[in-house]
């Protein structure tokens, strides 16, 4: 198969997988006092594509996933929060990947933390309340934990799956 055709197929399947992970995420109750604590399962797909293929593929699939999952499982407000998180984490993960100095674990942790930071920034803008910054330390810590978990699985996928592109 031509590379383009195969890439298209891989990105399609990845988008489907990311949608399923997004849906699974909505089924997991995460009721902490601080909103925004989540595992970030769908970032598994973004991480995988970023490392295996390139930033453009990862960004494209993430954009489609964020739009569709907000439409299906969320609201306009959740779209704003998701976009803020996705844009910042894609930028940070892309930069870290480019340096080639970090493993999937480091990239994933930085991605999760910057995702949470992006959401806090969006909350500060939407509610025009800078006190929301008080959530940041908590969300940074939860981000490192969830980022580590997702990164560990991501590293395994990167090692085991051969795309043969």
């Amino acid at each position: 198969m031509k590379r383009n055709t195969k890439l298209l197929a891989v990105l399609g399947v990845s988008t489907a997988a990311a949608m399923i992970l997004s849906y699974l995420e909505t089924l997991i109750p995460m009721n902490f006092a601080v909103p925004g604590v989540k595992i970030g399962l769908a970032n598994l797909v973004t991480l995988f594509l970023l490392i295996k293929i390139d930033w453009k593929s990862a960004a494209a699939v993430t954009a489609v996933r964020v739009l569709l999952s907000s439409l299906l499982f969320g609201s306009f407000t959740s779209l704003a929060y998701s976009l803020a998180g996705a844009v910042l984490s894609l930028a940070v993960m892309g930069l870290l990947k480019k340096t080639e100095r970090f493993t999937a674990l480091g990239i994933s942790i930085a991605g999760a933390v910057s995702h949470n930071a992006g959401q806090v920034i969006m909350a500060v803008i939407l509610l025009s309340t800078k006190e929301i910054a008080y959530w940041l330390p908590v969300l940074i810590v939860t981000g490192t934990v969830t980022g580590l978990a997702v990164g560990a699985v991501g590293a395994l996928l990167v090692k085991k799956i051969d795309l043969k592109l």
């Binding site: 902490f32 025009s128 309340t129 006190e131 940074i140 810590v141």
Partner: protein
């Protein structure tokens, strides 16, 4: 090569956690005992109550939603709410400046302000 990258990961992790600790420390140090409870709906201040007077009232937000605010013994908290996630009820009672109880679905922010801090903040 890979060992080096794992070491870099660890350095990254440590600096992120240090940043969180530093942010937490700075935010804690900036706090003072509060004087007023400020209620903001959709970014606009809708009411201000003194923190030293006990109070229980229903705050009505967009679409007829209700959060019940309680001020008792110098602390403010949301006792009940009809939002889907109830995170505002789970957040702890607040009494120091900068502390908040926030209900994202109702765009409601309950904030503690200090002496003269009611109009200058936000």
């Amino acid at each position: 090569m890979d060992k080096k990258r794992i070491r870099n990961d660890l350095i990254l992790l440590a600096s992120i956690l240090l940043a969180a600790l530093a942010a937490w420390g700075v935010l804690k140090l900036a706090q003072r005992p509060g004087k007023y409870v400020v209620v903001e709906i959709d970014g606009k201040t809708s009411a201000v109550y003194p923190l030293d007077t006990d109070l229980r009232l229903d705050i009505k937000t967009e679409g007829g939603h209700v959060n019940t605010l309680v001020i008792s013994e110098g602390r403010a908290y949301v006792e009940s709410a009809d939002c889907p996630d109830k995170l505002c009820v789970k957040q702890r009672a607040i009494s120091r400046t900068g502390e908040t109880v926030i209900c994202l679905p109702h765009k409601l922010v309950i904030r503690i302000a200090g002496e003269g801090g009611v109009d200058t903040v936000s």
